[in-house]
Amino acid sequence: MASTATTASYTAPDAKTASRPWFFTRPAAKTGLVSWLTTVDHKKIGLLYAVFALFFFLVGGVEALLIRVQLAIPNNTFISHQLYNELFTMHATTMIFLAVMPLSAAFFNYMMPLQIGARDVAFPRLNGFAFWVFLAGAVVLNVGWFTKAGAPDVGWFGYAPLTSNQFSQQFVGDSSTDLWIMGLQILGVSSIIGSLNFIVTIINMRAPGLTMMRLPVFTWMTLFTAFLIILSFPAITIALVELMMDRSFGTGFFEVSKGGMPILWQHLFWIFGHPEVYILILPAMGIVSEILPTFSRKPLFGYPIVVFSGAVIGFLGFGVWSHHMFTTGMGTVATAAFSLATMAIAVPTGVKIFNWVGTLWGGQIHTRTPMMFALGFIWMFMMGGFSGVMHSAAPADAQQQDSYFVVAHFHYVLIGGSVFALLAGIHYWFPLVFGRIVSEFWGKLSFWVIFVGFNTTFFPMHFLGLNGMPRRTAVYDGNMGWNSANLVSTIGAFILAVGIGIYFAVIVYTYFKGKKTSHDVWDARTLEWSVPSTPPPEHNFHVTPTVHARDAYWYEKTHAKEIAAEKAKVAAETESHGGIHMPSQSWFPLVTAIGLLVGGLFFAHHNYIGAIVGGVILLVGVLGWAFEGPGGYHLHVHPDGTVTGGEGQDEAHH
């Protein structure tokens, strides 16, 4: 962690703890529950995100299976319509906010600092805080399952006026929509804070020699995603604030009788919602851009163009939101403008696909499991893109809007795109993170079952949509011509479930009993693989790398003598400055997040005293955080590779 000038003001950062109040003593546990609760290590935080994301991925999957069972046959009575509404709402909300986004965050956290040669992110405690707040948001969103009010049931996009008190307050104390609002707000805080941290880290904490155009593509995509998050979330924050004001304080933002316009919700939501889908796909594109070169044994084709396209997609993504509203009667000019802009976005996306194909072309293809998922990504994401371009033509969209055609489109880009890439990334980086490699046979088997199951589930939906089956309906009649396609789709869903089951079983098994590996098992190209051991040590690198070219680790491997001499020099210099500076752990990110959780839960139930209590806990957390000081301690790496030092063990001042 780079120390700012502020540390100079601390006369005795590691002084005897007796001189400071007990609540300012920094925790030093490196194993056990306390080490996880107080961690500021980007790698541990990444693992926390991953574990919970994967858990919620399974929750979302179960929600989906229940939906598919209900839709397997016409006029089914498997579940009530109320429960059905809760399920499709929560399936989407869970998958988007509690599965894909945090799984992307897991990779940002774990891999990005390693890829830029840093020891941690710019603000380690803030990083921990972002995770705990994510968990708080996840709790608030799901608490409804255990209450009479039930889970939120207004769709993941919560259109007004369905979300108003008039239509979404089935009985006094029905807080499901209020919990949905609060849960999303809390998750927004987590995402924005995490993203601000990543931006500062990538801009300001790169290793010497690592210019922006030498950054790994995954790190570039992390940067673009972070910008998308900080610039798009405010719109949904405001939309949710206005909705909350309508429901709790009787304002008229979306209330027609007071002069409000419900369509304003749609605009504000989609100003967020469209960049959100790029937030979901850019990290995936980054992962694929790392995997393809490694398993084609050649560098990424057209690196500058791939980076530039990512930026263009991000930027244009802010100008197309009303393509979700083609059928709302915005007028010819507006509809045409958004239609054109949407078609334009297909261009940089297509450019990326061509560059990926260019990477494969002439390469020595190794069809290992991560590569299978990455190849699957290219094909499946392309198909999702084709149906997307079909949507961009407003007249065609008039038929497709709100039908299963849309469901097919976004599942192709989200599962075929985002999820495939994330599953690829797990296999790819598993040896780095855990020091074990997943069995080829079982990994590939899980891929094929997932691939078959996924296509069986969602391909028929294109036809269902064009044949008129509407979204979000709990039952359909038997003489619409939709029966066989729905049944096939449900069968596909269960095949997909089996595939996911195999995938998870294999991963868990490998964690405990998998074959151990040497750290650079794929002969990869980027810096995260250059760590001294797998799992990496807490301080990441014994010596901060100096970067000479793109694909920095490849350069290191092909210029071993030069690099070794350089590292010896840097090691000596670092030691002469006091050693490796590490951030101290802290309780306060957790305390502050608990304040947010407590306050949020009470506020959503209109219990303002409780909300104030939560606010006080939050304030105490923030004050403790501010006044405990930046902390920090030093580690010393010795020429034989051993590491000494730790929290509270610094003898002299810095």
């Binding site: 120390s3 003001s9 601390y10 001189s19 801009i203 405010p234 007071k258 409000g260 006044f627």
Partner: protein
Amino acid sequence: MSAHAGTIDHHHDHTTVTGIPNKKLFMWAFLASDCMFFGALISSHVIYRLHPVPNATDPLKVFSLELTSFSTFILLMSSLLMALAVGASQKGKIEATRKMLLGTIFFGLIFLGCQVYEFTHFVHLGMTLKSDVFGSTFYTLTGTHGIHVAIGVLWLVFMYIRTFKPADASKAWVARAFTQFLAFAVATVTIMFLMLEVTHAGAEHGYSLASITGALTHTPLAAVSTTAFALSIALLFVLGRFKQPVDFGEANAIDVESMGLYWHFVDIVWIVIFTVVYLLEYL
């Protein structure tokens, strides 16, 4: 990372790739995000002003341009004081920093007081959050800005208290700091309450020494508030006379600067709000 004797280069941070301190970069990125936040709020307000609704509040009947102009001027001056506080902290001048911070707090509270007064006045005239969409958008927009100001004031108070942290780490400080904070809290709450009492009395009986002193003492609550206010100010004065060496200097200027960025941003948002929400209504 050692600073050379006396001066830290506040324009360049050697430990970062760009030379921009991490906290500064973080704050600018956050402000870029906050632009979108206020953009969405301002949009909501402006959209509803584009197409008037029958029986809506007429802003010109409730607005008091004199009051709003005054509070705009106050906020601009608070921005000046904040910039001076940052400058003082960068030169390691603790006393000057404290004075400027107090000045900014004071002006920020005046701004908030004007807003509290304005809101109570509008509510008296029948314009509430619920009454119509103008009330909804107006209070939400200016209220959110007001909350930003309040958070800024809170942050300034904590920064002020922080400047008293003793250099000797073994000296007790938490209790003292807590007392200072409590004094600020009591002073703020009581002055807001008393301001409302005085303005009510002024509106009813006209402003005079008699009506003001009457307002400050006419109920037990008012009398207690007046006493509490006086005591808390006195306490702040006493606690502010700390002469021992403190653990606050040039190295902490980055924190004051970051806070300054936030405070100035709140000011520029008000510049936009003043024009768009108030001035444009008069055309």
